[in-house]
């Protein structure tokens, strides 16, 4: 191989790897190391190996803080994520399917609203006003409905694009066989949508789990915190306990990481296909 090609392939690669270690892995290493230190050493904020490795001790301490608040927060976050994603997926699939299949004048309006849902920033205080009017402000069900609503647009786009790949002949065949609209959708189409359902679920689950602004506005009192809120509040409580703070950060990073390891392909597909396919 020519020296040029060699340089391109190996040298550039090695330089890139080194740079990536410094830029991307050092912060992560910092989190892990600090999570394993004792409070005084953690307060020094150095990128050093802990003199005393107390990872599991910190783990236990963090979980027990404030009466197992972190566990409660995890349960809240997971509940929030699961339920809102289910709602989002079902509703958005219905809309995306209809948008793709049925061409009426309604389509332009619906497309406009979907687009608006992506661009327009939600009006937060009026949303609080609406929630309070319904009596759902500062409750988990209210937060679930909000997350589901905010995630609709992106999910609809993905569904609409994917439904395009299902041949209409299948629909026609099913109708001829006597299937009504419900059966057509739930029995025939939805199973075929599985790949994009998985994608939407994974991408939106990560987004909802990591959402900070939403719970900050709509779930403010700490009776019902999500993990992001707990982490943020922990910052002020743990003024002299950075080791616990970073252990918290580490723990909170784990669910999305798990999602990534198992669903890497779907995440990648979701983030690109929604954009590139249009």
């Amino acid at each position: 191989m020519t020296p040029r090609k060699f340089a391109r392939r190996y040298l550039v690669g090695i330089i890139a790897i080194l740079v990536s270690i410094v830029v991307f892995l050092v912060p992560f290493a910092f989190v892990v190391l600090t999570a394993a230190k004792d409070p005084k050493e953690a307060g020094l904020l150095g990128l050093t190996l802990p003199t005393q490795w107390q990872f599991w001790q910190n783990f236990a301490d963090v979980i027990q803080t404030n009466n197992y608040q972190l566990l409660a927060a995890f349960i809240n976050s997971i509940t929030l994520t699961v339920v809102s994603v289910i709602i989002m997926v079902v509703f958005a699939a219905m809309v995306g399917y209809l948008l793709q299949r049925k061409r009426t004048r309604l389509n332009a309006i619906v497309n406009f609203f979907v687009l608006a849902g992506l661009i327009v920033p939600p009006a937060v205080v009026p949303t609080i006003w609406v929630l309070q009017g319904i009596g759902l402000f500062d409750t988990l069900p209210g937060m679930i409905l909000i997350e589901a609503t905010f995630g609709l647009s992106f999910a609809i786009l993905l569904f609409r694009a994917f439904v395009a790949t299902i041949p209409k002949e299948l629909d026609e065949a099913a109708v001829i066989d006597g299937a009504g609209p419900m059966r057509l959708f739930f029995r025939v189409i939805l199973p075929l949508l599985r790949p994009v359902v998985v994608t939407v679920v994974v991408v939106q689950a990560v987004a909802v789990f990591n959402d900070f602004t939403g719970p900050l506005y709509f779930l403010p009192s700490s009776d019902n915190p999500t993990v992001q809120l707990t982490l943020y509040n922990f910052q002020s409580q743990s003024v002299s306990q950075f080791n616990l703070l970073f252990m918290s950060i580490l723990l909170i990073a784990i669910p999305p990481l798990i999602m990534y390891i198992f669903f890497n392909r779907q995440i990648v597909a979701g983030m690109t296909s929604g954009a590139v396919k249009g």
Partner: protein, 311 residues
């Protein structure tokens, strides 16, 4: 993945605000019943459309959630007369455009690297994308520690080489850009991913033809890759600009808009005014953000899609 044009459906010029998709279907005759729109429509209308439309009204009032007094444009006047709030407006624009531009440039560069024959490609892809998935608050707190002006790793290393050790988020002139930098760190992965998809979608015949013609790498990039990757570029610009203009989490976690008001953006202004109980002013901030985002995005989108069509 086909070489489909990147197109987030452009806004219909005949939009009729206020209308919703509530027309009933023609009964069970059609296999595509219109009532499928209804569940999503209900959620959307109650929790998104209603607040958005009412925000225009409430922004013209002094509001306490239980009562409001109409004060006309008083909130907007206050907004632009208070230097702190106007600063937020300016910062939003800076933040949005800086992060977007950086993500486009860096994303494309990384994507080229990662789609070429580079050693360690698989690992690099994973590592670059990983920050996207981590909690924003976690990232903010981590970098706050790393960039601590006196104890942080970054400044310690700089000091070791006798380089200046700036107050990354304590210097009013630097704070906003520091947060922007962390934002870019976190978000460049998606940009890279989208560009990679765009590059991979270019038929290899083009590259082969160029190679046969003896074109240099730079020429290949400039005349083949860059034009043909335009759909991906448009997407990255649009997504990162929307995100950047609306950004809140990272700024809030790292600086709370400080020191002083130097890293406030409209989103953090909205929150601060809400916290202080100035609900009308906060909603006015929301309306301003709405105008900024749509005012920028609609022309940008139109421009990008139009250029796209010229190809």
């Amino acid at each position: 993945m086909t070489n489909a044009a990147v197109r987030i459906q452009p806004a219909s010029p005949t939009k009729t605000p206020g209308l919703s998709g509530k027309k009933k279907g023609k009964g069970l005759r059609s296999p595509y019943p219109s009532w499928f729109y209804i569940p999503a429509a209900v959620l959307y209308l109650i929790f998104f459309a209603l607040p958005t439309f009412s925000s225009f009204y409430f922004s013209l009032t002094r509001w306490t959630l239980f009562s409001q007094t109409f004060i006309g444009f008083g909130n907007y006047v206050q907004f632009f007369e208070t230097p702190a709030l106007t600063q937020g407006f300016v910062n939003t624009l800076i933040y949005g455009f800086v992060t977007s531009a950086a993500k486009v440039v860096l994303g494309l560069a990384l994507a080229l690297l990662l789609t070429g024959a580079t050693f360690g490609r698989g690992y690099l892809r994973a590592v670059v994308f990983f920050p996207v998935l981590v909690s924003t608050v976690g990232v903010g707190l981590t970098f706050k520690a790393l960039l601590d002006p006196f104890h942080g790793v970054v400044n310690n290393v700089l000091g070791f080489f006798n380089l200046p050790q700036p107050g990354w988020y304590t210097d009013p002139h630097l704070a906003l850009l520091t947060v922007a930098g962390v934002d870019i760190w976190k978000g460049v992965g998606i940009a890279t991913l989208i560009f990679m998809a765009g590059i991979v979608a270019i038929p290899s015949e083009y590259f082969e033809a160029a190679r046969v013609d003896g074109a240099s790498s730079w020429n290949v990039f400039r005349n083949i890759t860059l034009p043909l990757v335009r759909p991906a570029t448009a997407t990255v610009i649009i997504l990162s600009l929307i995100g950047g203009l609306r950004s809140f989490d990272l700024i809030w976690a790292m600086t709370n808009g400080g020191p002083g008001f130097s890293s406030d953006v409209i989103a953090s202004v909205i929150y601060k005014q809400y916290q202080a109980g100035f609900f009308g002013l906060s909603t006015a901030g929301n309306v301003i953000l709405f105008i900024v985002v749509t005012g920028i995005m609609l022309p940008v989108q139109w421009f990008l899609n139009r250029r796209e069509a010229e190809l």
